[in-house]
């Protein structure tokens, strides 16, 4: 059993989290310094003081060490999405479901700024952010379909999820770029609001 929710994590789980964090930190630091292609898994593992074989016990590939975050597990997001009152529109429900993820990111501000800088310089990593990996995305689509009372073959739920993901990723990049000093939450709100308004052209600067 690997730590049920309300149990205090034992030494083993603490060590695991520690090793994982060390690998992630090392990966991000090295890639930020040298670029994705000039860092090997062996170097990352070395920096985190584990064998490279152990690296692959934590991550299925190099990219995963850079993008995945335990604080952003998809399951809670899906659960929260299902818990949003039915009268809220699907789009807004997704935004609400992301609230705690947004807070988690803002709380780990420095790590995420670095992570997003790395992602911005290696666009292949971008789609990995936030349920880029089918599993969670499919679950969210299913929940939205249920919320709306439409079949799984309806076109709306996949569109809402894809668009919401795009909005969230865009807001994160903007937040990390620092062009706008506002907190992530505000930037996400702005993006979702723009979408809810139908993405009208903004007034050009006079």
């Amino acid at each position: 059993m690997t730590t049920t929710d309300h149990a205090a994590p034992g030494r083993r789980d603490r060590k695991k989290a520690q090793t994982r964090a060390a690998l992630t930190a090392a990966a991000l630091r090295l890639v930020a310094e040298r670029g994705l292609e000039h860092v090997t898994v062996e170097e990352i593992s070395e920096a985190a003081d584990v064998s490279s074989r152990t690296f692959f016990n934590y991550f299925t590939c190099k990219d995963e060490a850079l993008t995945d975050d335990p604080a952003l597990d998809g399951n809670p997001v899906v659960a929260r999405l299902a818990a949003v009152p039915a009268q809220v529109s699907a789009l807004q429900a997704v935004r609400v479901a992301l609230d705690e993820s947004i807070d988690a990111i803002q709380a780990d501000r420095e790590l995420w700024r670095l992570r997003l800088a790395v992602i911005a310089q290696n666009p292949a990593l971008l789609p990995r952010l936030v349920a880029g990996n089918s599993a969670t995305e499919q679950a969210m689509i299913a929940v939205v379909a249920t919320r709306l009372g439409v079949g799984l073959d309806h076109g709306h739920p996949p569109l809402v999820i894809a668009v919401a993901g795009a909005a969230f990723r865009t807001a994160m990049l903007r937040w990390a770029a620092g062009d706008d000093a506002r907190p992530l939450h505000d930037l996400v709100d702005e993006a979702f609001a723009a979408i809810a308004a139908g993405l009208p052209d903004p007034p050009s600067l006079s």
Copy 2:
């Protein structure tokens, strides 16, 4: 010189296109049959009757042989986007710029159905569709920023491009899944219309 636009392609360029098409067809067929992980570059090359070293002269990685299509080169799309009259909204301009790509896909109906089936079964490939790779995407963002008369640090252009891409990809998958028998053009229109309307919840089936 590699075939300027209005010149008749010589034997060499014809052979290149042929080899490329053979590699793509072989890759799609084999992956559809066996799954992405159970097909090697060597097998694909073998099926297309070239060496595996030659495979990498055409594609930088295995995925590229499955997703990229010469008919969907990003440059023309960017050019068309820039050519859309300025009074058209950015979102609609992107939709218009995609028109010829949509036609090209519909014309190659069978190939694209197979390709999208493969992509649906291997979601890691999805982001590669349609300017998933920064270069074109950045160019489109720049064009939209110019259209709108806003700076490159403005948040709207990236949002529009990301959302439009999500809409296009979603429509393509829907089209290929065959849940809806309408032509791709209609499905793309529907998705863009839904976005322009602010993604309101559809009426649930009574």
